[in-house]
Symmetry: C2
Subunit: 268 residues, 2 copies
């Protein structure tokens, strides 16, 4: 347990941004981070994801770091709770599971998972009382083999293999995002759009503009200061329904009929 | 169709980073982006995600933009193919589906989906021949209602509600990441770790160090320049197996037995 400092474990979650965070997430361990700005951006990505346990191993520019404070704006609470360690081993003491986030497999035999699979494993592990850490290496070089060897499992983000490099805060964000999703129950919303081809947006806009011109002629979109909101509300009525090409032709026909204007393609 | 310039549609995917990209992804439409640096970071996030169709509506500092080129380093091909529009309507002409990415619902009745749900809808829509765009607003203010009204559906990223704000490139990255995942078939890898409690990392490291000291004594970890690699390979053998507490006690017992060292807790 040498190296862990239980007295600084996050426990007061009443500060700004922490209401939506849980003390029960994986620790984010930054190994030899270089720029304070990146540490601050990591703190923001963590708080976005409801994570608060930041551990720093030998940050290049020392700690505390003014550039980190500045870049963390809004996520100050994560920076204030960050803990400093002089070795990766000390930073992960007390953990039962350690993941290493790296874009580059180094020829070691390791379990390899995606961020989504990692989140699906970490959440029940933490609920069962285990402590979990995720290691991230220095900005340019990434994790060295000795640190990867300390991990049970490598997290690799499936991305365009021809252009997979992420900056430090983005890597933390994707891992943290999946962590958050794994505990999120945002309901799906679906509408059945039917089989007909959906209308081209240019054709839909032409319909809106024609309709609104007719309504202007009729004095409907009054008073003028309320017109923008009325137009938006009308457009939203039609936008929500995934209109098809024939439906928009029909709507044109309705407008024509109502305004007694004859057009060759009227069908209804 | 006014405003689209089909002659600049991405078609040559032989440039660096584009091998893993497909011309068949949603367009990313940045409305009034302010900093060139952010446009460059968006280009990188797009190429990470295999997306190449970047459309700019009234970028504040004009176009082309040297800061964008610099920040895009490596994703130059996306910047070079970017197309400029003077209105959101022009940028989405030719599209059948438009999504608006915004952290803030504005009291409009709109379909609301997560990035994951959006990706699950967009992929089959594009495969069916539809063109799709995702709108992102200016850095600080986000999308205005008039632009949200042009969209069929709002994409909201489920994140810590007390700290949900993302920078522009991060928002694009999360939407693009889900797009990429929806077409990715990275296999899951799982090991059954059994029911016993997993070992504390500090205890596991103590075992490694004891074992390695014994191996040093025995002259096994020679020559010295190969020692680091040998140690890593040995550690990886044990790391991979999700060792439990009793297993590590057993391993200690084995080491003790093999070296004829007597310890009180030996059990095997």
């Amino acid at each position: 347990m040498a190296g862990t400092d239980k007295s600084k474990t996050p426990d007061d979650l009443s500060s700004r941004g922490l209401e939506g965070a849980s003390a029960m997430g994986p620790a984010v361990v930054l190994i030899e981070p270089q720029l304070g700005e990146n540490i601050g951006m990591v703190a923001r990505a963590m708080l976005n994801s409801g994570l608060t346990d930041l551990r720093l191993v030998r940050p290049r520019d020392g700690w505390p770091n003014e550039a980190a404070n500045k870049a963390a704006s809004g996520a100050d609470a994560v920076i204030e709770r960050a803990r400093l360690f002089d070795s990766t081993a000390a930073a992960i003491a007390g953990c039962q599971r350690v993941y290493a986030s790296t874009a580059r497999p180094r020829g070691m035999v390791k379990r390899l998972v995606t961020p989504r699979q990692a989140a699906a494993e970490i959440r029940p592990a933490i609920q069962a009382g285990e402590a979990v850490a995720v290691l991230f290496g220095p900005e340019r070089s990434g994790l060295v083999n000795d640190d990867i060897a300390l991990a049970d499992t490598v997290i690799q983000v499936p991305l365009n293999p021809a252009f997979a490099s992420l900056n430090l805060a983005q890597a933390v964000l994707l891992v943290g995002y999946e962590w958050y999703q794994s505990g999120d129950a945002t309901p799906g919303q679906q509408l059945d759009s039917g089989g007909a081809p959906l209308v081209d947006k240019a054709d839909l806009l032409f319909f809106f503009e024609r309709l609104e011109a007719k309504l202007d002629d009729a004095g409907f979109l009054q008073p003028i200061e309320k017109r923008p909101n009325m137009v938006r509300n009308i457009r939203n009525i039609f936008q929500r329904t995934d209109l098809t090409e024939p439906e928009v032709r029909t709507l044109h026909g309705i407008v024509s009929a109502l305004t007694r204007e004859k057009r060759s393609q009227d069908e209804s």
